[in-house]
Symmetry: C2
Subunit: 372 residues, 2 copies
């Protein structure tokens, strides 16, 4: 059974730790590879491999002797994963799926080739290429690789902004007239079974592009929600996915649904599934890659998920603030236990689940006041 | 914050693993002491101390450098815990609480001294003492120490049964005319805050005294449920508890509530709290011992918890059976990943949570058929 399986996770942050939380429910052996020796996962496995997930040699070494490998970040060495796959290790999501997604331009081309609506975009090699695109200003500039939590995304409004733009391979993307941002997590197993979670609404911090909070369910017309689910399922099929993918989407002011970005792993937009859904996204990922029947994705309660970001004001009186939050009934704390400080970094989240959205929102107000 | 706290757990079985599952939510450092190198917890900590929890020297060695120690079994060395407490380590539940409970006769005396109703009982040194008690037959015989999962409990009906009775210090207990067996888990923190979970009904296997299944809520009169909660709270106060205690009780045919046994740790009767309650018993234990506000104990859904016991019939086609169970919506598998086989041993459990008890019961029927 599961205790005889050796599973590896590339990446050892909070997503990995929450995946271990659910791997415990199956009695799985979990090895983790992560270059930060103090990362959250380092505490929760007897098999922690301290090395860079982008290193060919290190990933190959890590993967030998494992039965199955999955990821909690996209920045991993694809060639090593392909080699491991040849040697008989199951790699889910597949190296091809990760490769398509880890480069935002190939991701966009892939989506376009499958008739998935996306914002128009083109690739540039570096800053100098942007001057030739002046006529397209304002536009969004995204690094092709290694962006996360808003790092690697900027909006350029005027020619003067180009001077401070990223000087790296990027995608230049037309700005979309956004009404709402939503996300759908979709799972698919090797038997071809596909299941979607309901779309959630995401609200980002304006300056930082980092997720501020998330609401489930997204309060939008049924037709839009259905369109979002259809797109997510189509993407899972197109990728020949085994695992889960978070599909971030824009709902435009004229009610079109456009795919923004994919993440082939557990995702911030699905944290609420731990408490608010029958099956969490973490359990669903394990079910998908172990060839088990996918779990029921029904939402049990309206919920709201708030990120906790590192800040000097929070640090001033952290213990008392966290105690106040824990005293709110139905507020579920996830504290990542990150070592060291870096303002703006995600250091935890709180999921509020309750019988009505009114009650969820009023509890969220109390918690926001404590956190700020 | 929590990441700077070093917590130790004495015992490394499934209860410890589920405690780690919830320690991840606080980013805690968890060290585990357990003599079985392959126990479930061995996989889920970077700090596994392979030694016997009843050894004075080993417990002392394990506890040095820890900030806080808790237990997932009663069979631990009390003297070492008292010494560690003197040295400034927080030990919750306290060594005094564990000492009172780990001996079933002192436990009974303690309860009687606090006017908690229990079945009348007396201590015997060994088998020979039983012949003098012939006139009290039939009675229940319980080993004073180290009983668990029905090991260490037997019913003697006739004089002939004495020949095969335990030959160890035991409690001889009058048989109670039982209508239902129930359990209440109660938590208390160092600030004196006390919270009870609702009583659950427990159904034991007749021959083995091992829990077969558990139903929440227990479907009994309000007055009985209230009496059960009152007794549990009174016990928490009497013990000056910091932590959680499971209080197993009998409801007699004339509707009296009698306390059967205490367990000062997470308990089989509270597994359902992971999915069916706002706060799980594991999170509640962490809140209690860390001086945090206790969590909401409300039951969210009717639920039923089924133990999975090791058996040759299950082993015959285990993987397919487990897949069938995972296909039942709302059936939550907890597979402990124990290494090796021992018929009758608990190797997992399934919690079914759903909107109505009818639906829970019908799903339980499906799962029972698969398991048998």
């Amino acid at each position: 059974m599961f205790e005889n399986l050796k599973m590896g996770i590339l990446g050892g942050g909070q997503l990995g730790a929450m995946l271990i939380r659910h791997a415990i429910d199956l009695g799985l052996n979990v090895s983790v590879m992560e270059k930060d020796a103090n990362a959250p996962c380092s505490r929760y496995t007897s098999s922690f491999f301290c090395a860079d997930t982008t290193s060919y040699e290190a990933v190959l070494e890590f993967g030998k002797g494992l039965d199955i490998i999955t990821i909690e970040r996209e920045a991993v060495n694809i060639d090593a994963l392909r080699e491991l796959q040849k040697q008989g290790v199951k790699v889910y999501p597949s190296p091809d799926t990760i490769a398509v997604i880890q480069d935002k331009f190939t991701q966009k081309q892939f989506l376009q080739s499958h008739n998935i609506p996306v914002a128009a975009g083109e690739a540039v090699q570096g800053k100098n290429d942007l001057y030739a695109l002046e006529s397209k200003l304002p536009f969004c500039l995204k690094k092709r690789r290694d962006g996360y939590d808003g790092y690697g995304v900027m909006v350029l409004k005027t020619k003067e902004d180009i001077a401070s733009a990223f000087d790296a391979p990027c995608v230049v993307e037309e700005l979309v007239d956004i009404k709402r941002e939503i996300a759908v997590i979709v799972a698919r197993n090797e038997h071809g079974e596909v299941k979607c979670y309901d779309a959630v609404a995401m609200v980002f911090s304006e300056e930082k592009f980092i997720l501020d909070f998330q609401e489930a369910p997204a309060q939008l017309d049924e037709a839009i929600l259905k369109e979002a689910a259809t797109l997510a399922e189509k993407i899972a099929e197109a990728l020949n996915l085994v695992g889960i993918v978070a599909v971030e989407m824009f709902v435009t002011k004229d009610n079109k649904v456009i795919v923004n970005e994919l993440a082939p792993r557990p995702h911030n937009s699905g944290h609420h599934t731990i408490e608010a859904s029958v099956t969490s996204q973490y359990e669903q990922l394990l079910r998908a890659i172990l060839g088990l029947p996918l779990g029921d994705t029904s939402l049990l309660f309206p919920s709201l998920m708030l990120n906790i970001l590192d800040s000097t004001s929070l640090n001033a009186n952290k213990e008392e603030k966290i105690k106040s939050i824990l005293a709110v009934p139905g507020a579920h704390l996830h504290w990542y236990g990150k070592i060291g400080h870096r303002p703006g970094r995600k250091i935890g989240h709180i999921t509020i689940a309750d019988n009505t959205m009114e009650s969820v929102l009023s509890k969220a107000e109390i918690i926001r006041k404590v956190l700020n």
